[in-house]
Amino acid sequence: MIEITEEEIYLPEMIERARSKDAGAIVTFLGTVRDDGIEMLEVEAFREAALAELRAIEKEAMSRFSLKAVEVAHRTGSLAVGESIVAIVCSAGHRQEAFSGCRYIIDELKKRAPLWKKERGVRGERWVGHDEPAGK
């Protein structure tokens, strides 16, 4: 299941959905809000385009790494330090495939899915990943 959600991510259910008789390995990536002088993180999505991109990435990962199941959940909205931003679960017959698949999905998600993060903290606010435009 692929989802972009305002609700808290509940990883245990995702892992249970990925568990299967023909899987010997389940690898999970959880991205959490790290305290770099941050108070809150705002996450914004171009929802329809991000879902389409995540479905494309899932399909690529399934076939490249012979995955048995893929689960992706990306949170949007206001997150506190320690909360989960993104969770990815990949199951496969063997651990090499599950690790590679999970790594592939998070790397591609970061490159390709239209999602943005704004840090609110002690040093003010900033959008992550690019210099502030001169006009702001």
């Binding site: 389409a52 990306h74 998600l109 970061k110 239209p114 999602l115 943005w116 993060k117 959008w127």
Partner: protein, 92 residues
């Protein structure tokens, strides 16, 4: 013709999340961005450099497909197109 304009992240803060624009038949992606810039000084400063060229960090999708600003600013839009404007991606 009518174009739906979506903006995200810092561009949403400047332009609002969604608007519908009426532009003349045959207008290009560049024409639409030019109209937005003419009507909105903060957007002009954020999106264009002093020579009037689109800044590198301005990313564009038309109908949820990325377009290359370097090559496709002269591409004509169609009635009903959805154009999205956003900065570099930073999910996960």
């Amino acid at each position: 013709m009518r174009i739906v304009v979506l903006a995200f992240a810092n561009f949403r803060e400047i332009l609002g999340k969604k608007r519908e624009m009426e532009i003349k038949e045959g207008a290009t992606i560049g024409d639409l961005l030019g109209e937005l810039a003419a009507a909105n000084q903060p957007f002009r400063v954020a999106a264009f450099d002093d020579s009037g060229a689109l800044r590198d960090y301005v990313l564009i999708m038309v109908n949820r497909k990325r377009v290359s600003p370097a090559l496709e600013l002269s591409r004509p839009l169609q009635d009903g197109d959805e154009l999205a404007i956003f900065p570099p991606l930073a999910g996960g």
